[in-house]
């Protein structure tokens, strides 16, 4: 059985050359330490393609027993050192432990994730605040009851938008996948929470995985257009980044629990794919290539995944936080008015904070983060990076900006890293340049070449010219988004970015 279009010849070649279909995909084999030739033989893959995959993912290119986090919060916490200074280590961006307020390493036990709500009735965090947690049966029942059309109608009425960063209307995406007549469809939970400064998806996968799975069940039912005959198959995949091993383990366990208890819709099976270190895999087309065991590179769109996604079949890729909201939404029929924000950096008490859309950054930090970190001088804050390395930089003067997709384009996934005056705009820009160069997938020319040139621009005009090219020419949201916080830095801190001649 083949999809009408979008068949990847490498995968079909591999399928035809496997002695028997292996349980693990190529990335798993390479992670387990197989050589390129061994993995090629086992997977039936061409050697060059295997080398391409092996040399793409950070965990496969640079296998190391110990990784140090080079995410934004860790990087600017006191005492951070590059991995070059620590023999036998490699860097990672990021471990999702931004709230710990120290340079994190994989050999430390993660601290529990602090969480709090500034709304009376939290939605995202409804099962992880206080004791008790979710009742899985009730969760799955809430998504099993309504008919597919009803799910879509409720979703559309709620105005739910994807929370991974792109804020695309969820109902429209599901409807698009439903419209395509295909014998196989996929729903993929995007747990590749790569933005340094974000860790809510880790929290949800580790502590409320059934909400995510139930959201996937709702999606599976909504996009299955085979009707009562039930001839068509919908499959589920939870993509969990390699940096979140506990989340992957918990998701696996939750799937087993739900399957055992018979809570998943008939015929709907879910599996977990563990990434291997690539920020761009958070982009949906790249993520799907990753699940296929290929290089996690962005692909031109169209075709969109809803027509031609995983293995060529119609696919909905949905962020973890979005999926976790869906059961609540179907049960209550209400509009979700709050969102999770992850606070880190120069705040007194970093946490995942659920707050209403429209809250100002200042209020969020004051009420949700306990104000400035105590060691900070007063006024402690200089700026905040919001929405990760493709997000926005707000100077402290603009902390009254209301946080919402429309009021602050670039809000992204809602990570907030706050900086004090000890961090110069140039330092932050350097960090962002390095991030961009390290994580560019290399598929398109502006981003592949341009991100490596960002840190070497002699003057503002030259940098802005390059930012224009990245923004206009890049294939995916990564290269298009890299300029966004840099432009903010240039606007608000022009002298720090390029000191006037003689001022240095």
């Amino acid at each position: 059985m083949h999809p009408a279009s979008g068949m990847n010849p490498v995968l079909e070649w591999a399928r035809r050359h496997q002695r028997e279909a292996p349980d693990e995909n190529l990335i798993d084999d390479l992670r387990a330490g197989m050589s390129v030739d061994q993995a090629a033989e086992r997977q039936g893959m061409p050697r060059a393609a295997v080398h391409g995959v092996q040399s793409y993912y950070e965990y496969l290119r640079h296998p190391a027993p110990l990784r140090v986090c080079a995410g934004t919060a860790c990087r600017f916490a006191g005492g951070w050192m590059t991995s070059a200074a620590l023999p036998g280590t490699a860097e990672v961006r990021c471990l999702g432990r931004c709230y710990e307020g120290r340079p994190c390493r994989t050999d430390q036990t993660p601290a529990p994730i602090p969480r709090r709500a500034l709304v009376d009735e939290p939605v995202v965090l409804r099962h992880v605040l206080g004791a008790g947690g979710a009742d899985p049966e009730r969760l799955y029942r809430s998504v099993a009851r309504p008919a597919a059309e009803e799910i879509l109608a409720t979703l559309a009425a709620s105005g739910l938008r994807g929370r991974g960063g792109a804020a695309f209307p969820t109902a429209a995406k599901w409807e698009a996948a439903r419209r395509v007549d295909a014998p196989v469809k996929y729903v993929v939970a995007n747990g590749d929470e790569g933005d340094p400064g974000s860790y809510v998806d880790r929290l949800l996968l580790e502590e409320d995985p059934h909400a995510v799975l139930a959201g996937m069940c709702a999606c599976a039912r909504a996009i299955d257009s085979s009707g009562a005959s039930g001839q068509n198959v919908v499959r589920g995949v939870v993509y969990v980044r390699a940096e979140y091993p506990a989340a992957a383990a918990r998701a696996c366990r939750a799937i087993a629990e739900a399957t055992e208890a018979g809570l998943l819709p008939p015929g709907f099976a879910i599996e977990v794919h563990v990434g291997a270190g690539s920020y761009v895999c958070g982009e949906e087309t790249a993520l799907l290539r990753g699940i296929e065991g290929l290089r996690g590179e962005a692909q031109p769109r169209p075709p969109y995944p809803t027509e031609c996604g995983l293995h060529g079949w119609p696919t909905v890729v949905q962020n973890v936080e979005t999926l976790a909201i869906v059961p609540w939404l179907l049960e209550s029929g209400r509009k979700p008015a709050s969102k999770a924000f992850c606070l880190s950096g120069a705040v007194a008490s970093p946490a995942v904070v659920e707050a209403g859309f429209g809250i100002s950054l200042a209020e969020l930090l004051a009420r949700g983060g306990g104000g400035a970190a105590p060691r900070m001088p007063c006024p402690p804050w200089k700026m905040a990076l919001i929405g990760g390395p493709m997000g926005r930089v707000l100077p402290v003067a603009a902390f009254d900006t209301p946080l919402g997709y429309d009021t602050l384009p670039g809000l992204g996934h809602g990570g907030v890293v706050v900086f004090d005056a000890a961090v110069s705009a140039r330092d932050l820009a350097g960090h962002l340049f390095e991030f961009a160069a390290s994580e560019s997938c290399g598929a398109c020319t502006p981003c592949r070449v341009g991100t490596a040139q960002l840190g070497h621009r002699p003057d503002r005009a030259a940098l802005e010219r390059l930012l224009d090219t990245l923004e206009l020419g890049s294939m995916c949201g990564f290269g298009q988004g890299v300029p966004r916080p840099i432009r903010d830095l240039l606007q608000h801190f022009p002298d720090e970015m390029f000191p006037a001649r003689g001022a240095r």
Binding site: Q54, S438, T445, G450, D468, S474, M475
Partner: protein
């Protein structure tokens, strides 16, 4: 409609398609119409409704406003060009694009250039300093050849092409050259391109002087690929695939790179005559006179063997000479030793002894049955097409004792014991009938003899035949179900079906399968023999066979004679002639005393058991050749002919496509086009011919063959014609048997398996079965390919054998081995191969020094006299 700059155009395809259709220049470096691709280079950005998008990946939508020139775009392109300049030294098309954008340097740091080069391969050249990471090499390799040599490695600015191993020559490359044709910078290039413009990226001025380009037909198999031969002076400098059917730009390692033989020092440049036991140069006049004298004196005892490498016109002339000039039907061609059983079998079953469909139908089939054909090596361009169809989702069933490349990717591989085709094919038919996978309407309306056939099949269940074939019954059933349930089941077959004791009958059984499922007479189906030599189809079409005249007309039929005799001006002999194996026997027995062999090296390619004594007994052996072949060494007179690159004419490919052969090179001094030599010989033997050139000969063929009535050079120039072409305004016939099966009704043949008498030997003495065939790099007797760098890719013959056999015999990989059969012995180097099943060994026949065909016995296909090349009992030992 779309507004494109200042005009209004139709929206179709992508924005790039729209721009190109309108003649608006939008550079796209990573997209190519042959493979698609795109989205990587970002050079084709345009503004659509005010947004910048990549033209190559954006669908054109009605009502859009597309702007290809603006200040924003100019600034963007200039900066992108500078980024490209930083990453790669400008070269080729990319350099032209950058120059067009006014980019002659970069303000970026050129830190990202990679200086890696690789020249380890005889043909491919890699110079990554110019690589712009467009990925067309990868797309070309994946989507044209299906070889997956390239991928991209690293990430971000470290992204660069990889081919797996360190040295390119150790990669999986089959040197088809598809990547070199698409690479926009020359980062992936080849020997010929590099030689043409040495270090083009550093050349300041324009490239080398333009070469003349001649379109002609490839000579390395029966696919009939169209070549664009680039010629400078009297040398071929480069060969490209012409962008037309059947190959659409694609070629193989032979077609693209083997052209140096045409000016090789070993070429024959003067006639030779045997004096005092030695061949010595002589004049053309002397040679022609000597042949004429001998053939006149020995009239009645002369036989002719035509050449499948020569043109239709030359084949026509040879049989006309033999028949009308010398009064004998003793004329044959090398189809005798390859697809004569196909012609015979298909004629009996269907009424026409040629491919029913076209190569293009491969793209339309949903199940492809490849029977006895190692297509990816013997017919690489068709093999690649089959691979692509399969990678797009077609199902594949392969019948082959070896795990060939296609077998390895098949849905079902039926790895039978060599020599058991009939038993296997009957069991497939049994499953189709007993599981009711047949097209009842087709069987009722278009076939005859079904009821008898149904009863015959009753005791051929796969569970029973498994003991003969060695193929698990479950696999046979799975294969039959795939073929039987297909909407468009297509067969191709090769010599693995024909070169057997029951070869013709095996072909009839293949026809039976197609008749059962209605796989005939429409798009995407059919019975399609892959013809081995470039014009073996044409040689038979032209009447180079002892029982049939040009156009498969019987010389005994009065109406046929009435058609031919006025044109030929002589009576057509009616007494049946001898087949090639019969000619050798007759020579041994003294009734054939002279032979004319046109461009065939029978000493190497025919079974030794037949040839040697026969040729040795001849009073006069005349060989017309381009090299002093093994056969030419034994001749009394050798006439130097022209290669396919040096003469005009036509070849007919395996899909019945008559295509022009055009002289790309002037004749080699001293040699002559073969048709001219034949005309001289005809005149010298008292039968002068009026032709001014090959076009006149084709006009005559059109007069005597109804299926060629509409063929003329003018009509062929548009891209070839598939016969039948009954009228001058007829477009040719892509698919046969559309309205009805040509013989009236398709005939089901009931053929029971009979073991070959050649296998009736002591199994203890000869425990292994040898099968023979081609390898990718070489062609036939190797006279052309072994005089090329293909000899570096495949320097010597290898005996492929299974590891289990090697272990048992104490043979290691690379050991010299001797192979003995009851008929002779051969020597080669052992290669332990996972392709081989235990008990079967393989040799090619390309190497004279191996002597593969000395092993082959005297058994012939019992209907068509084709030698049994494909199964011989042998014993192998370390030399």
């Amino acid at each position: 409609m779309i507004q494109l700059d200042d005009r209004t155009v139709t929206a179709a395809g992508t924005i790039l398609d729209v721009c190109r259709a309108a003649g608006v220049d939008v550079p796209a470096l990573c997209h190519h119409p042959r493979v698609g691709g795109g989205g990587h280079c970002r050079a084709c950005m345009v503004e659509v409704d005010g947004r910048m998008v990549a033209a190559c990946t954006t669908p054109a939508r009605d009502g859009s406003v597309v702007v290809t020139q603006s200040e924003r775009l100019r600034a963007y392109r200039r900066d992108l060009g500078e980024l490209m300049h930083a990453e790669a030294a400008p070269a080729g098309v990319a350099a032209t694009v950058l120059a067009g954008w006014g980019v002659d340097g970069t303000r970026y740091e050129a830190r990202q250039r990679v200086s890696r080069q690789d020249a380890s391969h005889p043909y491919l050249r890699l110079d990554l300093e110019t690589c712009i990471r467009c990925r067309l090499c990868e797309e070309a390799c994946n989507r044209i050849q299906g070889q997956f040599v390239y991928a991209f490695a690293g990430r971000g600015s470290e992204t660069i092409v990889t081919w797996g191993p360190d040295r390119f020559v150790d990669s999986d490359c089959v040197a088809c050259g598809a990547c070199t044709a698409l690479c926009p910078t020359g980062a992936v290039s080849d020997r010929d391109r590099r030689a043409l413009a040495d270090e083009p990226r550093r050349a300041a001025g324009p490239a080398a002087p333009p070469a003349a380009v001649v379109q002609t037909t490839c000579t390395f198999c029966g696919v009939g690929c169209q070549l664009a031969v680039h010629v400078a002076g009297d040398r071929v400098v480069r060969v490209e695939g012409a962008d037309t059917p059947p190959n659409h730009g694609h070629l193989c390692v032979k077609g693209r790179y083997v052209h140096g033989f045409a000016r090789h020092p070993d070429r024959l440049r003067t006639p030779l005559i045997r004096r005092d036991g030695a061949l010595v140069p002589c004049s053309w006049d002397e040679a022609i006179a000597a042949v004429a004298e001998a053939f006149t004196r020995l009239r009645g005892h002369v036989a002719g063997l035509s050449s499948s490498r020569c043109t239709n016109e030359e084949n026509y002339l040879l049989q006309k000479w033999m028949r009308a000039g010398l009064g004998t039907n003793h004329v044959d061609c090398c189809a005798r030793v390859c697809h004569a059983p196909t012609a015979r079998g298909m004629r009996e079953s269907l009424g026409t002894g040629a491919a029913t469909n076209s190569f293009a139908d491969i793209d339309q089939a949903d199940v492809i049955l490849v029977a006895g054909s190692n297509s990816t090596e013997a017919h690489p361009v068709v093999g690649a097409r089959i691979k692509q169809a399969v990678l797009r989702g077609a199902r594949l069933v392969v019948i082959d004792p070896r795990r060939t490349e296609l077998a390895a990717m098949a849905d079902v591989h039926l790895a039978l014991r060599p020599g058991t085709n009939v038993a296997l094919l009957n069991s497939l038919a049994h499953v189709l009938v007993t599981e009711d996978l047949i097209d009842h309407a087709f069987v009722a309306d278009r076939t005859e003899g079904f009821e008898r056939y149904r009863q015959f099949l009753a005791d051929h269940a796969p569970e029973r035949t498994a003991a003969i074939t060695g193929v698990d019954a479950g696999r046979v059933r799975a294969a039959a179900r795939l073929y039987g349930k297909a909407r468009r089941p297509l067969q191709t077959h090769g010599l693995g079906m024909t070169e057997h004791y029951q070869g013709s009958e095996s072909v009839m059984l293949l026809c039976n399968l197609a008749l059962l499922v209605g796989g005939l007479g429409r798009v995407g189906v059919g019975v399609n023999p892959l013809r081995g030599q470039n014009n073996v189809q044409g040689a038979a079409d032209m009447g180079c066979q002892p029982d049939l005249l040009t156009g498969y007309a019987s010389p005994q039929a009065p109406d046929v004679r009435a058609r031919f005799e006025p044109v030929w001006g002589r009576p057509v002999p009616t007494e049946p002639g001898l087949t090639l194996p019969q000619m050798y026997r007759a020579a041994r027995e003294g009734s054939i005393r002279a032979m004319f062999i046109l461009g065939e090296d029978v000493v190497q390619t025919d079974p030794g058991a037949h040839v040697d004594a026969g040729l040795a007994a001849l009073e006069m052996l005349v060989v017309q050749e381009i090299f002093l072949s093994e056969t030419a060494r034994r001749a009394h007179i050798v006439l130097p002919g022209a290669s396919g690159l040096e003469k005009d004419g036509t070849f007919t490919s395996g899909e019945r496509r008559i295509q022009r052969v055009r002289a790309a090179l002037p004749p080699l001094p001293g040699a002559r086009p073969d048709w001219e030599i034949l005309c001289a010989l005809m005149a010298a033997t008292g039968y002068p011919q009026p032709y001014r050139g090959p076009a006149d000969i084709m006009d005559e063929i059109a007069r005597v063959v109804p299926a060629f009535a509409g063929v003329s050079y003018a009509h062929l120039d548009a891209g070839g014609l598939q016969w039948p072409v009954p009228a001058a305004d007829h477009p040719g016939t892509a698919i046969l048997h559309t309205e009805r099966v040509a013989r009236g009704r398709g005939a089901f043949a009931c053929v029971a398996y009979e073991p070959s008498p050649g296998l009736d030997v002591d199994p203890a003495a000869y425990p292994l079965r040898l099968t023979t065939g081609r390898v990718l790099e070489h062609y036939n007797c190797g006279t052309m390919t072994r005089r090329s760098d293909n000899a570096r890719l495949r320097p010597c013959d290898e005996l492929e054998l299974a590891a289990a056999d090697a272990d048992r015999l104490g043979i290691g990989d690379g050991d010299a081995v001797v192979v003995r059969s009851p008929h002779g012995e051969a020597r080669a180097v052992a290669r332990i191969s996972p392709r081989m099943a235990e008990g079967t060994v393989f040799l090619s026949f390309h190497y004279a020094e191996t002597g593969t065909n000395r092993l082959i016995g005297p058994v012939l296909d019992r209907l068509a006299d084709c030698p049994e090349y494909k199964v011989t009992p042998v014993v192998v030992a370390r030399a």
